[in-house]
Symmetry: C2
Subunit: 229 residues, 2 copies
Protein backbone atom coordinates (compact mmCIF):
# COMPACT_ATOMS: atom_id res chain seq x y z
CA UNK A 1 0.00 0.00 0.00
CA UNK A 2 1.31 3.44 -1.01
CA UNK A 3 -0.18 6.52 0.71
CA UNK A 4 0.44 10.17 -0.10
CA UNK A 5 -0.28 12.36 2.92
CA UNK A 6 -1.18 15.78 1.62
CA UNK A 7 -2.68 19.14 2.46
CA UNK A 8 -6.35 19.86 1.89
CA UNK A 9 -8.73 22.75 2.39
CA UNK A 10 -11.87 22.65 4.57
CA UNK A 11 -13.29 20.86 1.53
CA UNK A 12 -11.15 17.68 1.58
CA UNK A 13 -11.42 17.40 -2.21
CA UNK A 14 -9.48 20.64 -2.66
CA UNK A 15 -5.86 19.49 -2.65
CA UNK A 16 -3.58 22.42 -3.23
CA UNK A 17 -0.01 22.09 -1.92
CA UNK A 18 2.57 22.93 -4.61
CA UNK A 19 5.12 20.44 -3.28
CA UNK A 20 2.47 17.72 -3.04
CA UNK A 21 1.51 18.39 -6.65
CA UNK A 22 5.13 17.93 -7.70
CA UNK A 23 5.11 14.53 -5.95
CA UNK A 24 1.67 13.56 -7.34
CA UNK A 25 2.92 14.20 -10.86
CA UNK A 26 6.10 12.25 -10.13
CA UNK A 27 4.05 9.26 -8.93
CA UNK A 28 1.96 9.39 -12.12
CA UNK A 29 5.16 9.76 -14.17
CA UNK A 30 6.45 6.55 -12.59
CA UNK A 31 3.10 4.84 -13.17
CA UNK A 32 2.72 4.16 -9.43
CA UNK A 33 -0.71 3.81 -7.83
CA UNK A 34 -1.28 5.60 -4.54
CA UNK A 35 -4.03 6.50 -2.10
CA UNK A 36 -4.46 10.09 -1.03
CA UNK A 37 -4.69 10.87 2.68
CA UNK A 38 -5.76 14.53 2.89
CA UNK A 39 -5.17 16.61 6.02
CA UNK A 40 -5.76 20.21 6.91
CA UNK A 41 -2.77 22.12 8.35
CA UNK A 42 -3.13 21.33 12.08
CA UNK A 43 -4.17 17.71 11.60
CA UNK A 44 -0.74 16.10 11.85
CA UNK A 45 -1.41 12.98 13.92
CA UNK A 46 -1.86 10.46 11.13
CA UNK A 47 1.64 11.01 9.74
CA UNK A 48 3.42 11.59 13.07
CA UNK A 49 5.21 8.28 12.51
CA UNK A 50 7.15 9.91 9.68
CA UNK A 51 8.81 12.39 12.05
CA UNK A 52 7.80 15.21 9.71
CA UNK A 53 5.51 18.09 10.57
CA UNK A 54 5.15 19.22 6.97
CA UNK A 55 3.65 17.62 3.89
CA UNK A 56 4.06 15.87 1.52
CA UNK A 57 4.87 12.62 3.27
CA UNK A 58 4.87 9.34 1.38
CA UNK A 59 4.33 5.99 3.06
CA UNK A 60 5.49 3.25 0.72
CA UNK A 61 4.62 -0.05 2.37
CA UNK A 62 6.18 0.32 5.83
CA UNK A 63 8.64 3.02 4.79
CA UNK A 64 8.08 6.70 5.52
CA UNK A 65 9.67 9.18 3.11
CA UNK A 66 9.49 12.92 3.76
CA UNK A 67 10.33 16.11 1.83
CA UNK A 68 9.37 16.41 -1.83
CA UNK A 69 12.93 16.41 -3.22
CA UNK A 70 13.86 13.37 -1.11
CA UNK A 71 10.68 11.64 -2.21
CA UNK A 72 11.67 12.27 -5.84
CA UNK A 73 15.13 10.81 -5.19
CA UNK A 74 13.57 7.83 -3.41
CA UNK A 75 11.19 7.15 -6.30
CA UNK A 76 14.03 7.42 -8.82
CA UNK A 77 16.17 4.95 -6.92
CA UNK A 78 13.41 2.50 -6.04
CA UNK A 79 11.51 2.60 -9.33
CA UNK A 80 14.12 3.39 -12.00
CA UNK A 81 11.78 3.05 -15.00
CA UNK A 82 10.55 6.33 -16.50
CA UNK A 83 13.35 8.50 -15.13
CA UNK A 84 12.62 11.71 -13.24
CA UNK A 85 16.28 12.76 -13.46
CA UNK A 86 18.04 10.29 -15.71
CA UNK A 87 21.44 10.36 -14.06
CA UNK A 88 23.62 11.74 -11.29
CA UNK A 89 24.36 15.06 -12.95
CA UNK A 90 20.70 15.90 -13.58
CA UNK A 91 19.78 14.82 -10.06
CA UNK A 92 22.53 16.90 -8.47
CA UNK A 93 21.92 20.05 -10.47
CA UNK A 94 18.16 19.76 -10.00
CA UNK A 95 18.76 21.15 -6.52
CA UNK A 96 19.75 24.44 -8.15
CA UNK A 97 16.66 24.47 -10.35
CA UNK A 98 14.36 23.56 -7.47
CA UNK A 99 15.84 26.23 -5.24
CA UNK A 100 15.56 28.85 -7.99
CA UNK A 101 11.94 27.88 -8.59
CA UNK A 102 11.15 27.91 -4.87
CA UNK A 103 12.42 31.46 -4.57
CA UNK A 104 11.35 32.86 -7.92
CA UNK A 105 7.99 31.19 -8.47
CA UNK A 106 6.66 30.11 -5.08
CA UNK A 107 8.32 33.02 -3.28
CA UNK A 108 6.67 35.54 -5.62
CA UNK A 109 3.26 33.86 -5.72
CA UNK A 110 2.92 33.24 -1.99
CA UNK A 111 2.15 36.84 -0.93
CA UNK A 112 -0.24 37.20 -3.88
CA UNK A 113 -2.38 34.17 -2.98
CA UNK A 114 -1.91 33.53 0.76
CA UNK A 115 -5.24 35.28 1.52
CA UNK A 116 -6.92 32.98 -1.03
CA UNK A 117 -5.50 29.92 0.76
CA UNK A 118 -6.69 31.25 4.13
CA UNK A 119 -10.24 31.71 2.80
CA UNK A 120 -10.44 27.98 2.06
CA UNK A 121 -9.66 26.86 5.64
CA UNK A 122 -11.89 26.28 8.65
CA UNK A 123 -11.82 28.76 11.51
CA UNK A 124 -9.12 27.12 13.62
CA UNK A 125 -6.77 26.44 10.70
CA UNK A 126 -7.40 29.87 9.19
CA UNK A 127 -6.36 31.48 12.50
CA UNK A 128 -3.20 29.34 12.63
CA UNK A 129 -2.38 30.02 8.98
CA UNK A 130 -2.97 33.75 9.32
CA UNK A 131 -0.86 34.11 12.43
CA UNK A 132 2.14 32.12 11.20
CA UNK A 133 2.10 33.52 7.65
CA UNK A 134 1.56 37.13 8.66
CA UNK A 135 4.53 36.85 11.00
CA UNK A 136 6.59 35.53 8.09
CA UNK A 137 5.31 38.17 5.64
CA UNK A 138 5.57 41.08 8.07
CA UNK A 139 2.13 42.34 7.05
CA UNK A 140 -1.49 41.11 6.84
CA UNK A 141 -2.41 38.60 4.17
CA UNK A 142 -4.63 41.23 2.57
CA UNK A 143 -1.82 43.80 2.48
CA UNK A 144 0.46 41.18 0.90
CA UNK A 145 -2.07 40.57 -1.88
CA UNK A 146 -2.81 44.25 -2.55
CA UNK A 147 -1.89 45.38 -6.05
CA UNK A 148 -0.90 41.87 -7.08
CA UNK A 149 -1.86 42.46 -10.71
CA UNK A 150 0.75 45.21 -10.82
CA UNK A 151 3.43 42.74 -9.81
CA UNK A 152 2.86 40.32 -12.66
CA UNK A 153 5.11 42.19 -15.10
CA UNK A 154 8.06 41.84 -12.73
CA UNK A 155 7.10 38.23 -12.04
CA UNK A 156 7.17 37.44 -15.76
CA UNK A 157 10.57 39.12 -16.06
CA UNK A 158 11.90 36.95 -13.25
CA UNK A 159 10.72 33.89 -15.19
CA UNK A 160 12.86 34.84 -18.19
CA UNK A 161 15.22 31.82 -17.90
CA UNK A 162 12.24 29.44 -18.01
CA UNK A 163 10.48 31.44 -20.71
CA UNK A 164 13.59 31.48 -22.88
CA UNK A 165 14.10 27.74 -22.52
CA UNK A 166 10.47 26.90 -23.29
CA UNK A 167 10.52 28.94 -26.48
CA UNK A 168 12.83 26.26 -27.86
CA UNK A 169 11.63 23.03 -26.26
CA UNK A 170 8.37 21.48 -25.08
CA UNK A 171 9.35 20.85 -21.47
CA UNK A 172 12.10 22.00 -19.10
CA UNK A 173 13.47 18.47 -19.24
CA UNK A 174 13.35 18.37 -23.08
CA UNK A 175 10.88 16.47 -25.26
CA UNK A 176 9.24 14.86 -22.23
CA UNK A 177 8.57 16.30 -18.77
CA UNK A 178 10.57 15.28 -15.71
CA UNK A 179 11.07 16.41 -12.11
CA UNK A 180 11.94 20.05 -12.87
CA UNK A 181 8.70 20.40 -14.83
CA UNK A 182 6.69 18.90 -11.98
CA UNK A 183 8.18 21.30 -9.44
CA UNK A 184 7.32 24.32 -11.57
CA UNK A 185 3.91 22.90 -12.41
CA UNK A 186 3.16 22.35 -8.72
CA UNK A 187 3.50 26.07 -8.05
CA UNK A 188 1.17 27.07 -10.87
CA UNK A 189 -1.31 24.30 -10.05
CA UNK A 190 -1.43 25.54 -6.43
CA UNK A 191 -2.33 28.99 -7.71
CA UNK A 192 -4.86 27.59 -10.18
CA UNK A 193 -6.62 25.59 -7.44
CA UNK A 194 -6.85 28.24 -4.73
CA UNK A 195 -7.05 31.56 -6.57
CA UNK A 196 -8.80 33.46 -9.33
CA UNK A 197 -5.46 35.03 -10.18
CA UNK A 198 -3.78 33.66 -13.30
CA UNK A 199 -0.14 34.58 -12.77
CA UNK A 200 0.79 33.49 -16.32
CA UNK A 201 -1.91 35.50 -18.13
CA UNK A 202 -0.59 36.89 -21.40
CA UNK A 203 2.62 34.85 -21.34
CA UNK A 204 1.77 32.44 -24.13
CA UNK A 205 4.97 30.43 -23.98
CA UNK A 206 4.36 29.58 -20.33
CA UNK A 207 0.57 29.28 -20.69
CA UNK A 208 1.14 26.71 -23.44
CA UNK A 209 3.67 24.80 -21.33
CA UNK A 210 1.18 24.75 -18.45
CA UNK A 211 -1.53 23.47 -20.81
CA UNK A 212 0.79 20.63 -21.86
CA UNK A 213 1.37 19.84 -18.18
CA UNK A 214 -2.38 19.88 -17.48
CA UNK A 215 -2.89 17.46 -20.39
CA UNK A 216 -0.46 14.85 -19.02
CA UNK A 217 -1.74 11.52 -17.71
CA UNK A 218 -5.18 11.94 -19.33
CA UNK A 219 -5.70 15.44 -18.00
CA UNK A 220 -4.86 14.50 -14.40
CA UNK A 221 -3.96 18.02 -13.26
CA UNK A 222 -6.80 19.60 -15.23
CA UNK A 223 -9.37 17.42 -13.42
CA UNK A 224 -8.37 18.64 -9.95
CA UNK A 225 -11.12 20.40 -8.01
CA UNK A 226 -10.65 24.18 -7.88
CA UNK A 227 -12.00 26.69 -5.38
CA UNK A 228 -13.33 29.10 -8.00
CA UNK A 229 -13.99 26.98 -11.07
CA UNK B 1 43.94 19.92 -35.28
CA UNK B 2 41.58 21.49 -32.75
CA UNK B 3 41.62 25.30 -32.37
CA UNK B 4 39.80 27.40 -29.80
CA UNK B 5 39.32 30.96 -31.05
CA UNK B 6 39.04 33.18 -28.03
CA UNK B 7 39.09 36.74 -26.77
CA UNK B 8 42.27 38.34 -25.50
CA UNK B 9 43.36 41.68 -24.09
CA UNK B 10 46.06 43.93 -25.62
CA UNK B 11 48.36 41.45 -23.88
CA UNK B 12 47.54 38.29 -25.87
CA UNK B 13 48.31 36.13 -22.81
CA UNK B 14 45.38 37.64 -20.92
CA UNK B 15 42.47 35.44 -21.95
CA UNK B 16 39.36 36.51 -20.15
CA UNK B 17 36.05 35.65 -21.82
CA UNK B 18 33.65 33.89 -19.41
CA UNK B 19 32.06 31.79 -22.15
CA UNK B 20 35.48 30.83 -23.51
CA UNK B 21 36.50 29.75 -20.01
CA UNK B 22 33.46 27.50 -19.80
CA UNK B 23 34.54 25.87 -23.08
CA UNK B 24 38.22 25.65 -22.05
CA UNK B 25 37.22 23.78 -18.91
CA UNK B 26 34.89 21.53 -20.92
CA UNK B 27 37.76 20.66 -23.29
CA UNK B 28 40.00 19.82 -20.32
CA UNK B 29 37.15 17.80 -18.76
CA UNK B 30 36.95 15.74 -21.95
CA UNK B 31 40.72 15.37 -22.01
CA UNK B 32 40.92 17.00 -25.45
CA UNK B 33 44.03 18.83 -26.61
CA UNK B 34 43.57 22.18 -28.32
CA UNK B 35 45.48 25.19 -29.60
CA UNK B 36 44.44 28.64 -28.50
CA UNK B 37 43.96 31.31 -31.15
CA UNK B 38 43.57 34.60 -29.24
CA UNK B 39 41.94 37.65 -30.83
CA UNK B 40 41.06 41.09 -29.58
CA UNK B 41 37.44 42.20 -30.08
CA UNK B 42 37.64 43.74 -33.58
CA UNK B 43 39.99 41.10 -35.02
CA UNK B 44 37.38 38.77 -36.48
CA UNK B 45 38.93 37.76 -39.81
CA UNK B 46 40.55 34.51 -38.76
CA UNK B 47 37.28 32.89 -37.71
CA UNK B 48 35.06 34.47 -40.38
CA UNK B 49 34.67 31.01 -41.89
CA UNK B 50 32.60 30.02 -38.87
CA UNK B 51 29.90 32.56 -39.71
CA UNK B 52 30.06 33.80 -36.10
CA UNK B 53 31.01 37.31 -35.04
CA UNK B 54 31.35 36.35 -31.38
CA UNK B 55 33.66 34.03 -29.48
CA UNK B 56 34.18 31.27 -28.50
CA UNK B 57 34.44 29.45 -31.80
CA UNK B 58 35.84 25.94 -31.98
CA UNK B 59 37.39 24.51 -35.12
CA UNK B 60 37.58 20.75 -34.76
CA UNK B 61 39.41 19.44 -37.83
CA UNK B 62 37.48 21.02 -40.68
CA UNK B 63 34.31 21.60 -38.64
CA UNK B 64 33.41 25.00 -37.21
CA UNK B 65 31.27 24.99 -34.05
CA UNK B 66 30.01 28.26 -32.57
CA UNK B 67 28.27 29.34 -29.32
CA UNK B 68 29.45 27.94 -26.00
CA UNK B 69 26.32 25.88 -25.24
CA UNK B 70 26.33 24.39 -28.74
CA UNK B 71 30.04 23.63 -28.40
CA UNK B 72 29.29 21.80 -25.14
CA UNK B 73 26.56 19.76 -26.85
CA UNK B 74 28.89 19.05 -29.77
CA UNK B 75 31.65 17.85 -27.44
CA UNK B 76 29.22 15.65 -25.51
CA UNK B 77 27.93 14.01 -28.68
CA UNK B 78 31.29 13.64 -30.41
CA UNK B 79 33.37 12.66 -27.37
CA UNK B 80 30.96 10.87 -25.02
CA UNK B 81 33.58 9.84 -22.42
CA UNK B 82 33.67 11.98 -19.26
CA UNK B 83 30.14 13.34 -19.57
CA UNK B 84 29.44 17.07 -19.36
CA UNK B 85 25.70 16.40 -19.01
CA UNK B 86 25.22 12.65 -18.67
CA UNK B 87 21.86 12.37 -20.37
CA UNK B 88 19.04 14.09 -22.21
CA UNK B 89 17.33 15.47 -19.11
CA UNK B 90 20.46 17.11 -17.72
CA UNK B 91 21.32 18.50 -21.13
CA UNK B 92 17.83 19.94 -21.65
CA UNK B 93 17.47 21.48 -18.20
CA UNK B 94 21.01 22.89 -18.35
CA UNK B 95 19.52 25.58 -20.59
CA UNK B 96 17.60 26.85 -17.56
CA UNK B 97 20.69 26.82 -15.35
CA UNK B 98 22.83 28.51 -18.00
CA UNK B 99 20.23 31.21 -18.60
CA UNK B 100 19.83 31.81 -14.87
CA UNK B 101 23.60 32.10 -14.48
CA UNK B 102 23.91 34.38 -17.49
CA UNK B 103 21.40 36.79 -15.98
CA UNK B 104 22.26 36.44 -12.30
CA UNK B 105 26.04 36.11 -12.35
CA UNK B 106 27.28 37.60 -15.63
CA UNK B 107 24.49 40.17 -15.76
CA UNK B 108 25.34 41.43 -12.27
CA UNK B 109 29.12 41.35 -12.71
CA UNK B 110 29.24 43.01 -16.11
CA UNK B 111 28.52 46.59 -14.98
CA UNK B 112 30.92 46.15 -12.06
CA UNK B 113 33.90 45.11 -14.18
CA UNK B 114 33.29 46.48 -17.70
CA UNK B 115 35.63 49.42 -17.03
CA UNK B 116 38.32 46.93 -15.94
CA UNK B 117 37.95 45.06 -19.23
CA UNK B 118 38.18 48.30 -21.20
CA UNK B 119 41.42 49.25 -19.46
CA UNK B 120 43.06 46.10 -20.83
CA UNK B 121 42.36 46.87 -24.50
CA UNK B 122 44.30 48.87 -27.09
CA UNK B 123 43.01 52.27 -28.16
CA UNK B 124 40.88 51.15 -31.09
CA UNK B 125 39.30 48.21 -29.27
CA UNK B 126 38.77 50.24 -26.10
CA UNK B 127 36.85 52.86 -28.12
CA UNK B 128 34.72 50.15 -29.72
CA UNK B 129 34.11 48.39 -26.42
CA UNK B 130 33.24 51.63 -24.62
CA UNK B 131 30.82 52.81 -27.29
CA UNK B 132 28.92 49.53 -27.66
CA UNK B 133 28.83 48.69 -23.92
CA UNK B 134 27.90 52.19 -22.77
CA UNK B 135 25.00 52.15 -25.21
CA UNK B 136 23.90 48.82 -23.72
CA UNK B 137 24.39 49.96 -20.11
CA UNK B 138 22.80 53.38 -20.59
CA UNK B 139 25.64 55.07 -18.70
CA UNK B 140 29.43 55.35 -18.76
CA UNK B 141 31.53 52.34 -17.78
CA UNK B 142 32.76 54.30 -14.78
CA UNK B 143 29.23 55.16 -13.66
CA UNK B 144 28.27 51.49 -13.99
CA UNK B 145 31.14 50.47 -11.70
CA UNK B 146 30.55 53.18 -9.08
CA UNK B 147 29.65 51.81 -5.66
CA UNK B 148 30.17 48.25 -6.80
CA UNK B 149 31.23 47.09 -3.34
CA UNK B 150 27.81 48.17 -2.06
CA UNK B 151 26.13 45.85 -4.54
CA UNK B 152 27.88 42.69 -3.38
CA UNK B 153 25.37 41.96 -0.61
CA UNK B 154 22.52 41.89 -3.11
CA UNK B 155 24.67 39.87 -5.50
CA UNK B 156 25.30 37.25 -2.82
CA UNK B 157 21.57 37.13 -2.06
CA UNK B 158 20.82 36.50 -5.72
CA UNK B 159 23.27 33.57 -5.61
CA UNK B 160 21.27 31.89 -2.81
CA UNK B 161 20.16 28.89 -4.94
CA UNK B 162 23.79 28.11 -5.80
CA UNK B 163 25.00 28.82 -2.26
CA UNK B 164 22.34 26.54 -0.78
CA UNK B 165 23.21 23.71 -3.15
CA UNK B 166 26.97 23.99 -2.54
CA UNK B 167 26.53 23.80 1.22
CA UNK B 168 25.51 20.19 0.66
CA UNK B 169 27.64 19.03 -2.27
CA UNK B 170 31.08 19.68 -3.72
CA UNK B 171 30.00 20.78 -7.18
CA UNK B 172 26.78 21.93 -8.86
CA UNK B 173 26.81 18.67 -10.79
CA UNK B 174 27.38 16.59 -7.62
CA UNK B 175 30.60 14.88 -6.54
CA UNK B 176 32.36 15.86 -9.76
CA UNK B 177 32.08 19.06 -11.80
CA UNK B 178 30.28 19.19 -15.13
CA UNK B 179 29.02 21.79 -17.58
CA UNK B 180 26.95 23.85 -15.10
CA UNK B 181 30.04 24.24 -12.90
CA UNK B 182 32.13 25.36 -15.86
CA UNK B 183 29.60 28.00 -16.88
CA UNK B 184 29.50 29.48 -13.38
CA UNK B 185 33.29 29.21 -13.05
CA UNK B 186 33.76 31.03 -16.35
CA UNK B 187 32.01 34.09 -14.96
CA UNK B 188 34.11 34.19 -11.79
CA UNK B 189 37.32 33.44 -13.68
CA UNK B 190 36.60 36.36 -16.04
CA UNK B 191 36.29 38.63 -13.02
CA UNK B 192 39.40 37.15 -11.42
CA UNK B 193 41.47 37.76 -14.57
CA UNK B 194 40.42 41.32 -15.41
CA UNK B 195 39.57 42.95 -12.07
CA UNK B 196 40.80 43.54 -8.55
CA UNK B 197 37.22 43.05 -7.35
CA UNK B 198 36.54 39.71 -5.67
CA UNK B 199 32.78 39.37 -6.03
CA UNK B 200 32.71 36.30 -3.75
CA UNK B 201 34.65 37.84 -0.85
CA UNK B 202 33.29 36.65 2.47
CA UNK B 203 31.05 33.97 0.97
CA UNK B 204 33.05 30.94 2.10
CA UNK B 205 30.80 28.32 0.54
CA UNK B 206 31.28 29.87 -2.89
CA UNK B 207 34.93 30.83 -2.33
CA UNK B 208 35.65 27.18 -1.48
CA UNK B 209 33.78 25.94 -4.54
CA UNK B 210 35.79 28.37 -6.70
CA UNK B 211 39.00 27.11 -5.10
CA UNK B 212 38.03 23.54 -6.02
CA UNK B 213 37.37 24.70 -9.57
CA UNK B 214 40.74 26.49 -9.73
CA UNK B 215 42.42 23.27 -8.54
CA UNK B 216 41.00 21.13 -11.35
CA UNK B 217 43.27 19.76 -14.09
CA UNK B 218 46.44 20.48 -12.11
CA UNK B 219 45.48 24.06 -11.31
CA UNK B 220 44.68 24.95 -14.91
CA UNK B 221 42.42 27.91 -14.07
CA UNK B 222 44.69 29.10 -11.27
CA UNK B 223 47.66 29.36 -13.64
CA UNK B 224 45.90 31.77 -16.01
CA UNK B 225 47.59 35.18 -16.40
CA UNK B 226 45.75 37.94 -14.52
CA UNK B 227 45.81 41.70 -15.11
CA UNK B 228 46.45 42.61 -11.48
CA UNK B 229 48.18 39.59 -10.01
Amino acid sequence: MRILFELCAKDPEILFSPWVWAVRMALKHKGLEFESSPHIFLDKASYAGSGSKTLPVLKDGDLWVTDSFKIAHYLEETYPDNPLFGGQIAQAQSGLIQSWMGRTILGALFPMIAADVCALLDEENAAYFRETRERHLGCTLEEAAAGRMDRLDDFHKSLAPMHGLLKGQEFIAGDEPAWADYVAFGAFQWCRIVSELDPLAGNYVLVNWRARMLDLFDGYGRAAKRAHA
